[in-house]
């Protein structure tokens, strides 16, 4: 399962079909059984695996059709959490914010069955997808642990077990999302690094951490200390302004390069995406780059998502051809000089 130059991948979530959203509502009101819901989640997962294969992506994700919120999902499945109630995120969007009410830990593997299912559907590699300890702690209320540090490190040990289980189940690529990691850069970044050391300790799988929203320049180059192979970052939403930051100190890890905006309705053109990749190549060598959307795409419409993924793959092929001087499948766009 070797990957081509500039492998294409995704950050994690895809939109849920209307039928699944409706089913989740029914399940919440106990008008639908867990088995019936799971069947619909599996169907949606199959569809997204197919869409990613059809688009020509190299490293797939399961689309997180079985998750509501990336933190609440883990809180629901783990020991030590309760759900406090709904808290506003913005506008009229609310999320169920967990509360730590006792010692945290795993009751059982959280994501392994879904990983195995998704991987069984395709011969291409599927990423194992986890939420990191710092983000779970930061996006929960804490009524139990005297300090944030104790909570974060305890969660790190639990997520480490999950990483080992995913690896044992055959995951070659494991992503640990830490979108909250730069919440308190001065106060806490060392703690976030310490936590990731625990999470990936002794892991042989290729590891990724997705970081988004917030002041990335503030944690650069310190973020290169995170014990993962790849940092996946949103470049497109600020039109690749981060490249200026990366010029200040060499980007020593692989990068998951966000090339399409996850929060705009507009489907970026192939040429526009290719231009973003080309600009990056002037700062970071090609062999260090994976191509990805900026963030999870669950808030986009299905058509927008498919459009963005397709154009992302086409743009990548275009640039790949420019780099290697070869054509793929004979249908790639003619090289422009």
């Amino acid at each position: 399962m070797s990957l081509p130059l500039l492998p294409t991948t995704a950050v994690g979530s895809y939109p849920k079909p209307a039928s699944l959203i409706e089913a989740r509502r029914k399940f919440a009101r106990k008008h639908l059984s867990k088995d019936e819901l799971t069947e619909l989640e599996r169907r949606a997962t199959r569809e997204w695996i197919q869409i990613q294969e059809d688009a020509g992506m190299d490293l797939l994700v399961d689309g997180e059709q079985y998750r509501g919120d990336m933190v609440a999902y883990f809180a629901d499945e783990m020991e030590g959490f309760a759900i406090a109630g709904l808290v506003r995120s913005y506008g009229n969007r609310y999320y169920p914010k967990p509360v730590v009410v006792g010692p945290v830990g795993r009751r059982h593997p959280v994501t392994v069955e879904w990983f195995k299912y998704a991987q069984s559907l395709t011969s291409r590699p599927v990423k194992g997808m986890l939420t990191g300890p710092y983000t779970i702690a930061e996006w929960s209320f804490n009524e139990h642990y005297p300090t944030r540090r104790e909570l974060v490190l305890e969660l790190a040990r639990a997520i480490h077990q999950e990483v080992m289980d995913l690896q044992h189940a055959g995951a070659k690529y494991i992503q640990i999302d830490e979108p909250a990691i730069h919440t308190r850069p001065e106060e806490d970044f060392a703690l976030a690094v310490e936590a990731m050391d625990i999470v990936t300790d002794g892991v042989s799988a290729y590891t990724v951490s997705h970081i988004c929203y917030g002041d990335v320049p503030k944690i650069y180059p310190a973020m290169l200390k995170l014990a993962v192979n790849q940092l996946d970052l949103a470049l497109k939403n600020e039109e690749f302004a981060l490249l200026e930051t990366f010029k200040k100190a060499p980007f020593t890890k692989d990068i998951g390069l966000g090339v399409v905006d996850a929060h705009s309705h507009r489907v970026e053109s192939v040429e526009e995406i290719a231009e973003g990749i080309r600009r990056t190549l002037q700062v970071i060598p090609a062999k260090q780059i994976f191509i990805s959307p900026d963030c999870g795409l669950k808030t986009r419409m299905t058509e927008e998502t498919v459009g963005k993924l397709r154009n992302m793959v086409e743009a990548t092929k275009l640039v790949r051809n420019e780099l290697t001087g070869t054509r793929e499948h004979g249908n790639a766009a003619t090289r422009v000089r």
Binding site: R29, G85, V87, N92, K97, E143
Partner: protein, 328 residues
């Protein structure tokens, strides 16, 4: 010694009910509800927020900011010269706001919060405190594509918001709060901050509150006491260092002390609140104290926010009793 709140309050009830505000917004977005009907629902939810505060026994209340999209947008969208951009994270929270962008000369064209203040005052048996997001915080959370310097951007906002403060005063506001959480993150810019505060309150005779949160004021204290405000609000949760900071010089103003953690569900005990109040009364006399949560309560689910309000009042009353006992 009185109790008060910092500002915002949860707009929806706890699960599973979506709540009438959220349902109304959804219907409005689908075109099934007119803007007037949505405003009607917002008024109803405002009355509920007022009722919760009154029931808990809070002395000085707000309207709960039910109509605020966020602290920036509510003001920025009705000032001339600003447009509203994409979502940004609000300080170190998991709440997002839309970024205001200066694209031209900033000017105040019409009252922004006056109608909401009048509505709340008319329907509240307790005094109501209007809140205005300060120019420094608006500038720090915003983007400037028009003014040659950050200083000019802040001062333009201060002049524009001065008109809002004057309009609130003309509408009868006896106390007006200005929120400046960004000060705690940008203390090195204190000279510009002080200049902006002077421009902001120029000619405003109402009692003025300068409210900080999400950090401490170490480095700008005691200079802060020179600003033209009557009350200074400090966060003693995220800004626990404020205990040491205010020990360095006599606190000469009224202190609005944020003791209850507005960002965690753990409910403070009456003894904890009593302890904090007793400790603060050795620094600031009770008649110059307001006891409050550390920030707006909208970071919490509704049920917890309501309980925190009750505990705030309960703890402060218990502390008052003890203090009276000591003096008797």
């Amino acid at each position: 010694m009185i109790t008060t709140v910092i500002g915002n309050y949860p707009k929806i009830p706890d699960m599973p009910a979506p709540g009438k505000w959220r349902s109304a917004v959804e219907k409005f977005q689908k075109g099934q509800l007119t803007e007037a009907e949505l405003h009607q629902v917002e008024d109803e939810v405002t009355l509920e927020a007022i009722q919760d505060q009154v029931d808990a026994g809070v002395d000085l209340i707000t309207d709960g900011h039910i109509r605020w999209d966020d602290g920036q947008t509510y003001f920025a969208r009705r000032l001339r010269g600003l447009s509203i951009n994409g979502l940004q994270r609000y300080f170190d929270t998991n709440i997002y706001f839309r970024e205001p962008v200066a694209e031209g000369e900033i000017a105040w064209v019409e009252p922004i919060s006056v109608r909401d203040f009048e509505f709340a005052r008319q329907h509240s048996p307790r005094p109501v405190k209007p809140v205005v997001t300060g120019p420094f915080t608006l500038a720090k959370l915003g983007r400037n594509t028009h003014y040659p310097s950050g200083r000019e951007f802040v001062l333009a906002l201060a002049r524009a918001l001065n008109a809002e403060l004057r309009a609130l005063q003309a509408a009868g506001a006896e106390i007006i709060q200005v929120d400046e959480p960004a000060l705690c993150q940008h203390k090195q810019e204190y000279p510009v901050f002080a200049e902006a505060m002077a421009a902001l309150v120029d000619g405003v005779r109402a009692k003025k509150v300068l409210c900080t949160y999400f950090g401490d004021v170490g480095g700008v204290y005691p200079q802060l006491l020179q600003l033209p405000f009557d009350v200074i609000g400090l966060d003693f949760v995220a800004g626990y260092r404020n205990w040491d900071v205010i020990a360095r010089a006599p606190f000469t103003k009224t202190l609005m002390a944020g003791f209850l953690d507005a960002r965690n569900t753990r409910l403070e005990t009456v003894d904890e609140i009593k302890g904090a109040v007793r400790r603060i009364t050795s620094i600031v006399p009770p008649d110059r104290l307001m006891i409050a949560p550390s920030a707006g309560l909208e970071f919490l689910p509704h049920g917890v926010a309501k309980k925190k309000l009750e505990r705030l009042v309960e703890g402060t009353r218990a502390a008052s009793q003890t203090l009276k006992g000591v003096r008797a």
